[in-house]
Amino acid sequence: MALRMVIVEDNALTRELIKEMIECLGHQVVAEAEDLAGALAALQQHKPDGFTVDLSLPKEDGLTILKALREADPNVRAIIVSGNSQARIREEVLKAGAVDLLPKPIELATLRAVLGKVFPNADNA
């Protein structure tokens, strides 16, 4: 099964690199967003299999976006992407419903492992 993913990330270069990696693994990026409004619109319009959400964003932080997405649809599966590795933030993010955390800088092998864990039925190339 190929996944349909949404990327929530403000840095254009990182967004492009994540998109490349997701596509390299045989999945599809159906939308890209930079903030909460964009993420909610993508959820409504595309009903994706999952999100990658950056933790530090200019408007709302990733934790706020995660909570809003989960409120709009409790089945949302979101992976938080960040260089922030603080133990208490990790706890908070997982408690808020994130399915996993992906550390920056993002590596293809790590993304493959995270997607394989979160979506066991997905075909990771």
Partner: protein, 195 residues
């Protein structure tokens, strides 16, 4: 707040303990080794104090991230920025072009990663938890960059600034990391450290 030599030593020790996480990230991005060149701690009362950073002819690229009472800044010489951008773009199979605008975007993301690494180490050691802002890009002379970061702080009391200079001999590149903390955060850190 008066910071004693023992306090200074404790804050610098905290920074040095956390810098390993940042150098590891820099090494992963640039595929080369980085090491500490120098460390320093200073107290600042106003932005005018940064005039001492001088050398306005030198041009730097960097970014800072904020959280109440603290600012983390990292900046690179123009030459180092270009090299880091090339290394960062090497991850792209589609051959993204290293335009000047791309350099600013790449340095912002590298700074974001390096800053969060050291900030996370400090947070865990002091029992803190905070999400830093998205990186704000800065470029220009060193004094202008540092003044811009200082301006984002809105400190309570004095500002204590810890600086670490990193270098990579392999590629003759440099990076400066600065942590600016106000009185409240320094107090919190000193109380949290088991000295």
């Amino acid at each position: 707040m008066q910071i004693t030599p023992e306090d200074q030593k404790a804050v610098l020790g905290l920074l040095e303990a956390g810098i390993g996480a940042s150098t590891a990230k820099l090494s992963a991005i640039s595929r080369t080794n980085w090491a500490i060149k120098a460390t320093a701690l200073k107290a600042y009362a106003s932005a005018e104090d940064f005039a001492e950073l001088g050398a306005p002819s030198q041009y730097f690229f960097g970014a800072y991230c904020t959280s109440p009472g603290r600012v983390f800044l990292s900046y690179f010489s123009s030459r180092s920025s270009a090299m880091l951008t090339q290394a960062f773009l090497a991850n792209s199979k589609r051959g993204l072009e290293a335009t000047p605008q791309m350099q600013e975007v790449a340095v912002a993301e590298v700074s974001n990663i390096v800053i969060n690494a050291i900030a996370s180490s400090i947070a865990d050691r002091c029992g803190m938890a905070f999400i830093l802002s998205a990186p704000k890009s800065v470029r220009g002379a060193r004094a202008d960059i540092v003044t811009a970061a200082f301006g984002a702080l809105q400190p309570v009391g004095k500002v204590f600034s810890a600086t670490i200079n990193l270098s990579s001999q392999d590629i003759a590149a440099d990076c400066t990391l600065m942590m600016m903390l106000d009185d409240l955060i320094v107090n919190f850190i000193l109380n949290a450290l088991d000295r």
